[in-house]
Amino acid sequence: MAHANDKTPTSAITELVHKAREGNRYAFEQLVVRFQGEIYRMIYYRTRSRLDAEDLTQDVFMKAFDHISHIKEADRFRSWLFSIAVNQVRDFQRKQRFRSLFKVSDDRADFERTEDQGREEPQALDHLLQKDFWRQVRLILDKLSRMEREVFLLRFFDHLNIKEISKVLKKNESTVKTHLYRALAKFKQESRLRQWLQEVSS
């Protein structure tokens, strides 16, 4: 499956990573431009909050900027960046769970509210479509285990291949495949979402 956001050739990215690793600030800024949207979306899929996604994306790139000199394989910059993002999201969710011990909060309600507040008045139909889509996605994702959800999102939402997912999650490829297989089996049973997707696409 091809990457949905492949605009920059891999060799050009590798070259930018080489330059950034040597301290070239401009090269790193180019990498930020290339990957900001992708990382932001990746975090948004998991946090379901625009504001948190903004903050965490900033943190991811700050970490990447601080540690770019340590990257060994320049051609694996994308999966390296995703592994930083996955860890940032995990930390964030851990803190949220800790906070939830002291404060009762409804994650779903928070998601809906953020969505409603954050939008710049889109068309009513688009807005409804959007709300419906994320509701459906949330329903299916909630049925998956933590690892199944992570692997499923990385594979079909973030468009990483099995090898990249294995690198990001630091799991062997067969483990990744097993979780992906289970996630797909559960997804296949969700006939409502699948039917909805077919209707929207047609």
Partner: protein, 185 residues
Amino acid sequence: MNSEQIEHLNSNQLLQAVVDRSDLPEALQAHLGACLRCRTEKERFEQELTHLGDMAARLAPMPSQPITLPRPAPRSALGDFLSGRRVFGAALTVAAAVLLVVLGTFVLRTAPVGQTGHSHQELLEARQLMTEVDLLVENALPQVYLEIAGDAYAASDDEFIRFLIPPLESDSLTSMTGKRGLVLC
């Protein structure tokens, strides 16, 4: 082998093919390549998943804030000065240490080895020799001969000498004997 002859892929095998086609047994891979029905079913499911991802990307918000990277710290004149002084101080310390090592090495190399210890030894030997010379001046005979001659303690026991050879003026018996002698003779 005719791929149409074997059974079509079941639901689980189709899922396995979506995850990684190469994990399927070779016969099933061959069948999937040849069988239009199985291939279409697999592709339809893959398209659903692709569409799901594309929809997510399209319906997700866009980042509204640019990423701000840390600016390199501006260099102040005071900072430069302090930094310069620190560097100068460190350089001076290193130079002094090197000079100390070089001088120490030079002194150790040029000085005769064990000079101090050698002269001290010589002094002790000289003293011992002088003591022996003094003893010989006092008594030239070796200790064995002195003992045979009964002179081993001669120098130290004057009373014994006086007992053997009493002085004339203090010995009345002798004088008397002398007188007697005179008388007798």
